[in-house]
C-alpha cells in the first residue's frame, strides 16, 4: 500500500520541510530560536524513535548519546580550537563509538532489563562528566561563545551565532535525520527491524541475525542522537552535564509516545506539541507543569498511539 502512496509520502514530508523553510521569515525572534531548538530536539527524538518505534527497544539511556555528541563536539571546540564542521563530525563519531561498545553489552538483554541496563550506563556516563570535572567543568559546564570560528564556504563566511545560520543548521539537521529515518524504515533493513519489534524469535528463525540488526538500529539511533547533541551545543553555545542526566533520556521517550511511536513524523509533532504546550501554559500560570501534565494525560488517553499514530489509524493508513 505504501508503494502506491510514495508520491504522497514524499510530498507530505517535503511540505513540512518547505513550511519550516518559509516559517523562518515570518515568525518573531523568540519563536525563530524556539523552532530551531524544536527541530534539533525532534531530530534527537527521530533517532530515539528508530529504536523504540521501529525496533521495539525502549532505552532510558539516550541522554548518554546526546551528551556524547555534545561533549564530542564541544570539548575539541573548547580546548583544541577545531572548526565547527570537524567538531560536528567528532560529536557523531563519539556517540557512534559509544553506541557500538555499549550496544554490544546492553543488547544481550531485552525488555525491562534493556531499559534498566541502558539507564545504568547512562548514569555512569553522567557521573563521569561530573567526575572528570577538570576537563568537562562538571555540572556548571562551559560556554562555546568565542570558540566558534566562522565557516568559509567559498567566498562566503558563515557566522554560527547568526540567527539565520542557526535556524538553517537546525533545519538541515532535522531534514537529514528525517530523511535517514524515512529511507531506513522503507528499506529492507527497516522491514527487518519492524519484524524484530513484532516477533524477534520468528525473525531469527527466518535466518536473520537479529542481534546485528538491533546493534545497527542502536548505532544509527545513537549517531542521530549524537548529531543532534553536537548541533544543540553549537547553536546554544553551551555544553553541560545536565544534558546527560536522566531527564534528557525521558524527554525523547515522551516526545515519541506523544507524537506517535513508529511514525516518521511523530517525533517532530510530539516535540513541537510538548514544547509549545509548556511555553503557552507558562504564560498563564506558574503551575504550568500541572497543566502540561493534565494535557499530556488527556492526549495519551485520547490518542494512545500518539497524535500521528491516531491519524494513521483513522485516515491515512499508508503514512510511514
Amino acid at each position: 500500500m505504501r508503494g502506491d502512496h510514495r508520491s504522497a509520502i514524499v510530498a507530505i514530508h517535503a511540505a513540512l520541510i518547505a513550511a519550516l523553510v518559509c516559517l523562518q521569515v515570518v515568525v518573531p525572534p523568540f519563536h525563530h530560536m524556539l523552532l530551531a531548538r524544536i527541530m534539533v530536539l525532534a531530530a534527537y527524538a527521530i533517532g530515539y524513535n528508530l529504536l523504540l518505534g521501529y525496533t521495539g527497544l525502549m532505552s532510558l539511556g539516550h541522554a548518554m548519546f546526546f551528551a556524547a555528541g555534545m561533549y564530542g563536539a564541544g570539548l575539541p571546540l573548547f580546548y583544541l580550537g577545531v572548526g565547527a564542521p570537524e567538531a560536528l563530525l567528532l560529536g557523531i563519531a563519539a556517540s557512534l563509538v559509544l553506541a557500538v561498545v555499549i550496544g554490544a553489552l546492553t543488547l544481550r538483554t531485552s525488555g525491562a532489563s534493556f531499559l534498566i541496563v541502558t539507564l545504568m550506563f547512562a548514569q555512569v556516563f553522567y557521573l563521569s562528566t561530573l567526575y572528570f570535572n577538570r576537563i568537562t567543568l562538571g555540572d556548571q559546564g562551559f560556554v562555546l561563545a568565542g570558540h566558534l570560528p566562522p565557516i568559509s564556504l567559498g567566498a562566503l563566511r558563515v557566522t554560527l551565532s547568526e540567527p539565520v545560520v542557526r535556524y538553517n543548521l537546525a533545519l538541515a539537521t532535522f531534514a537529514v535525520c528525517l530523511g535517514i529515518s524515512l529511507w531506513l524504515v522503507g528499506s529492507p533493513i527497516g522491514r527487518v527491524l519492524v519484524a524484530i519489534r513484532e516477533n524477534e524469535d520468528r525473525t531469527r528463525m527466518l535466518g536473520y541475525n537479529t542481534f546485528a540488526y538491533k546493534l545497527l538500529a542502536l548505532t544509527i539511533s545513537a549517531a542521530i542522537a549524537g548529531f543532534s547533541g553536537s548541533v544543540y551545543a553549537v547553536i546554544t553555545s553551551y555544553v553541560g552535564a545536565s544534558f546527560a542526566a536522566i531527564l534528557y533520556s525521558i524527554y525523547p521517550l515522551v516526545w515519541t509516545l506523544l507524537g506517535g511511536s513508529g511514525t516518521a513524523l511523530g517525533p517532530f509533532v510530539g516535540t513541537a506539541v510538548m514544547t509549545y504546550t509548556i511555553e503557552t501554559a507558562s504564560r498563564f500560570t506558574s503551575s504550568y507543569l500541572i497543566v502540561v501534565g493534565v494535557i499530556l494525560v488527556a492526549l495519551v488517553m485520547r490518542f494512545p498511539s500518539g497524535i500521528v499514530g491516531a491519524l494513521r489509524q483513522r485516515w491515512v493508513p499508508w503514512l510511514p
Binding site: F30, G240, S282, F284, T285, I290
Partner: protein
C-alpha cells in the same frame, strides 16, 4: 424522556475538568498571573520599567526560588513606594527556568523577545547562569545574576553579565580562611559535594589554606546521588583538627546525623557553609550534633546577628521573623544568608538606571547602563544594601562584601566574627571592559 448513560471516558473527562478547575482555584498562585498582568502593565500610562526576573520556580532550586521571588517582590514594592526608578514604577516579569540550563536560555530569550523587558536579573544556580549567559550576550541585554559562583568574576561569561549584589565563593573563602586557621586548627579535611559548587570550595580553600600555613589533610568529594555518608567518614584522617563541610540538598540532615553517630562526643572542630542548612530549622531533630560548631553566613539568619536599622527594615519588609522563618509560618525557614542579593541587585539596578539616564531597551541606553555600572567603585550600606557596604570591581563585574562567622548556640546561630570587605578581595583574572558592546 430519553436517558443517556455516562461512559467511563466521559466520567474521566469530567473529573479532569473538575480537578483542573480545583487546581486553578486553590493553587499556590492564581492561574492568571504573568501573562495578563503584562498586558495591563504594557497599557499603563505610568511607563513602567519592566524587569525580567529569571527564577527557579521548579526543579532542584525551587526552595531558593520561592524566597528569591518573595524578596524580589518585597524590593519592588519598597522601591515603588519610594518613587520607583528614575520616577518610573518597577514591574517584575517573572519566568521560570526550571533550574535547567536549556530552559534558562529559553527564559532569557522569552523575556527579551516576547516580554520585551528592559533587563534581566535574578537567577541562582551556576549551571543555569552559565547556560543562559551566552544568550544574554547575543541578545545584548544586561543580565544581573545572584548566584555566588566564581563564573562571573572568572571572566568566562561576557560583558552583559554582572553579579553586583552578592559576593562569590572565592571571595567568601578568601575572607574567612584566616579565622578558621587561627581559631580552629591547621590540619583540615574537606567534605564537599562532587560537583562544581564543591569544586570552588576545594580549589580556593586549598590555595588559601596553604598560604596561611595550614594543610588540607584529605579531600572527600561526595557524589550528588549519595544518601548515606558513613562510609566516607572512615577516610577522615585521625589527626584532623578541622572538618570543613559544605553539603547541599535534602541529604544534609542525614549527613549530620551520621556524622554525630560516627564521632560521638569526640570530634574535630566542625566548620560548615550555611548553604548546607539553608531553609532548614536548626532545631530540627538530628541536628543536635552541630551544637558548638561554626558556620559561614553571608547575612546572619537570626535577628541581632547584624543589628542595624537597615537590616531590621529589610527583615520587616520581607516578613521574616527574628529566627529567620516566615512571620506567618515558623516552619517556613528562609534562605536568609543569600536572598539579600536579590534585594540588593534591584537597588543596584535602580542606582544604575538613575545615573546612566537609561530610558528604553536598545544599544545606546544599554551601553550607558553597562558603562555606568562598570564605573561604580562600590555601594554604601543602607536600606538598599542591608548586608553591608560593598566594593565593586568593574573589570570583573563582581561585588565584594563582608562575611559573618556564627556558632551554633542552643539551636540557633550566634555571630562570633565579622570580616572586613577588604578581607575578601583577590587579584582579578579578567577584564570584561575590554570586550566590545
Amino acid at each position: 424522556m430519553s436517558t443517556k448513560r455516562i461512559s467511563r471516558r466521559e466520567a474521566l473527562r469530567a473529573a479532569g475538568i473538575v480537578v483542573g478547575a480545583g487546581i486553578a482555584g486553590v493553587g499556590p498562585r492564581p492561574l492568571v498571573p504573568s501573562g495578563l498582568r503584562q498586558v495591563v502593565y504594557a497599557a499603563s500610562p505610568e511607563n513602567p520599567l519592566r524587569i525580567g526576573f529569571q527564577v527557579h520556580r521548579t526543579g532542584i532550586g525551587a526552595v531558593y526560588g520561592r524566597w528569591w521571588e518573595r524578596t524580589a517582590a518585597a524590593a519592588a514594592t519598597y522601591i515603588n513606594e519610594k518613587g520607583g526608578m528614575a520616577g518610573r514604577p518597577v514591574r517584575l516579569v517573572s519566568e521560570d527556568d526550571g533550574t535547567d540550563p536549556a530552559r534558562g536560555a529559553i527564559a532569557v530569550e522569552k523575556l527579551t523577545s516576547e516580554d520585551k523587558v528592559d533587563l534581566i536579573f535574578g537567577t541562582l544556580f551556576s549551571n543555569v547562569v552559565i547556560g543562559s549567559a551566552p544568550r544574554a550576550g547575543e541578545l545584548k541585554i544586561p543580565y544581573l545574576v545572584v548566584s555566588e559562583g566564581y563564573h562571573v568574576a572568572s571572566g568566562k561569561l561576557n560583558r552583559y553579565c554582572f553579579q553586583p549584589g552578592i559576593t562569590d565563593v572565592r571571595a567568601q573563602l578568601t575572607a574567612i580562611s584566616s579565622w578558621i586557621v587561627n581559631n580552629l586548627g591547621k590540619k583540615i579535611t574537606m567534605i564537599y559535594p562532587d560537583y562544581a559548587f564543591g569544586y570552588d570550595h576545594r580549589d580556593f580553600w586549598g590555595k588559601g589554606a596553604a598560604r596561611l600555613g595550614a594543610t588540607v589533610q584529605a579531600l572527600i568529594p561526595i557524589p550528588p546521588t549519595e544518601t548515606s555518608f558513613t562510609k566516607y567518614f572512615s577516610r577522615i584522617p585521625a589527626d584532623t583538627e578541622v572538618l570543613y563541610h559544605v553539603m547541599v540538598g535534602p541529604g544534609v540532615p542525614t549527613f549530620v546525623k551520621e556524622l554525630g553517630e560516627y564521632f560521638g562526643s569526640k570530634r574535630p572542630h566542625l566548620f560548615g557553609f550555611i548553604d548546607s542548612l539553608e531553609g532548614v530549622d536548626l532545631a530540627s531533630p538530628g541536628l543536635e550534633f552541630l551544637e558548638g560548631s561554626h558556620f559561614w553566613e553571608a547575612f546572619p539568619r537570626y535577628a541581632g546577628g547584624y543589628n542595624t536599622s537597615f537590616e531590621r527594615t529589610y527583615r520587616e519588609r520581607l516578613g521574616v521573623s527574628a529566627s529567620g522563618a516566615s512571620a506567618r509560618d515558623p516552619k517556613d525557614v528562609s534562605t536568609y544568608s543569600h536572598m539579600f542579593g536579590v534585594w540588593e541587585t534591584l537597588f543596584v539596578i535602580k542606582q544604575t538606571v538613575e545615573q546612566s539616564g537609561y530610558k528604553r531597551p536598545g544599544p545606546k541606553d544599554y551601553k550607558a547602563f553597562i558603562e555606568t555600572l562598570e564605573r561604580f567603585q562600590g555601594f554604601s550600606e543602607g536600606v538598599g544594601h542591608p548586608q553591608g557596604p560593598k566594593k565593586f570591581v568593574g573589570r570583573i563585574h563582581q561585588a565584594f562584601g563582608q562575611q559573618f562567622i556564627s556558632r551554633v548556640d542552643t539551636k540557633r546561630l550566634t555571630v562570633v566574627h565579622k570580616t572586613k570587605v577588604e578581607d575578601s578581595l583577590y587579584p582579578p583574572e579578567a577584564d570584561y571592559t575590554k570586550q566590545p558592546l
